[in-house]
């Protein structure tokens, strides 16, 4: 089973990297970009027997830092 885990900073948490990327986009002449937030994508290949609870646990215990980040699990196939 292919699983994608999307990790993003919680709203309100300062994102200097996103800000720098935003600035760089503007430097390239792209207008109309209101905001950029940088995140992280994990692609996991797991056995079909891995439960939703276990996936949730992986996110909470390692893939995301719950103090500053949110996560979303997407099953691809």
């Amino acid at each position: 089973m292919k699983v994608r885990v999307h990790v993003s900073l919680k709203p309100g948490v300062l994102d200097p990297q996103g800000r720098a990327i935003h600035h760089s986009l503007e430097g390239l002449g792209f207008s109309g970009v209101n905001d950029v937030r940088a995140g992280r994508l994990f692609e996991l290949d797991v056995a079909d027997s891995v439960s939703d609870e276990a996936l949730d646990d992986m996110c909470r215990k390692l893939l995301a830092n719950m103090v500053i980040e949110n996560y979303r699990i997407e099953k691809v196939a």
């Binding site: 200097p16 990297q17 720098a20």
Partner: protein, 225 residues
């Protein structure tokens, strides 16, 4: 009673020797070196040091992989028993990632790596680690980090301030840290994490000795004068 300390080395630690030498010079006893894969710590430790560096290449998040390594389970258990644990720089990041300290260390607000001496204000001079300073005293300690921007939610920040758990504050904005917090204590007062490097300010040849009092405080507090 002889002071018995250990410093943990993770793959990618690079200030482990500095921390071990600082402890040895000030305590006069040898510092035990512990490897990240060790599941057990030496017995009867008075002090555990988590050094600066780039453990596991800062993969995933700074300190994230190190905080899940075998030795950290032993460190968490030791901290719960009241053994003093001191994390510097990457060691502070490991402490927040392991849950021993609240909050998180984000990328510096100015994006750049900051490597210079900064002025710190001692906020709490009554802890095990800071009793050798005066409250409100300004000290000069080097920083060298890319991810030292302390973040915690407002409730947590208010609680830390209210409980006297902000040990050190930057006298100026260095990295965007919330309320310019440079170092925090756990609720019991036996765990301190800080981004600045006191172990790099213990001899005149370092350019300053303001870091000495931190180690002297801890050693005196643990084994008597």
């Amino acid at each position: 009673m002889a002071f018995r300390s250990a410093v943990v080395t993770f793959p990618g630690s690079n200030c482990d020797r500095d921390l071990a030498v600082a402890l040895e010079k000030i305590s006069g006893t040898e510092t035990i070196r512990v490897w990240h894969g060790d599941a057990e710590l030496p017995d009867n430790l008075d002090f555990i040091g988590l050094p600066g560096g780039f453990s596991y290449g800062d993969y995933l998040r700074c300190g994230a992989i190190a905080s899940r390594s075998p030795v950290m389970q032993a460190v968490v258990a030791a901290a719960a028993r009241g053994v003093p644990v001191f994390g510097v720089c990457n060691g502070f990041q490991v402490l927040t990632e392991s849950g021993l300290l609240p909050g998180a260390l984000l990328r510096n607000s100015g994006i750049r790596f900051v490597c210079r001496e900064v002025s710190l204000k001692v906020e709490n001079a009554q802890s095990l680690f800071t009793s050798g300073y005066e409250a409100g005293q300004h000290i000069r300690i080097p920083v060298a980090h890319h991810d030292g921007n302390y973040h915690a939610d407002e409730d947590t920040l208010n609680r830390l301030e209210g409980e006297g758990r902000v040990a050190f504050r930057y006298a100026e904005d260095v990295n965007g840290s919330a309320r310019q917090i440079a170092g925090v204590l756990n609720a019991a007062g036996n765990v301190l994490g800080m981004m600045p490097h006191p172990e790099r300010a213990i001899e005149n040849t370092h350019g300053g000795t303001d870091g000495r009092a931190l180690f002297e405080s801890a050693i005196r507090g643990l084994v008597g004068a």
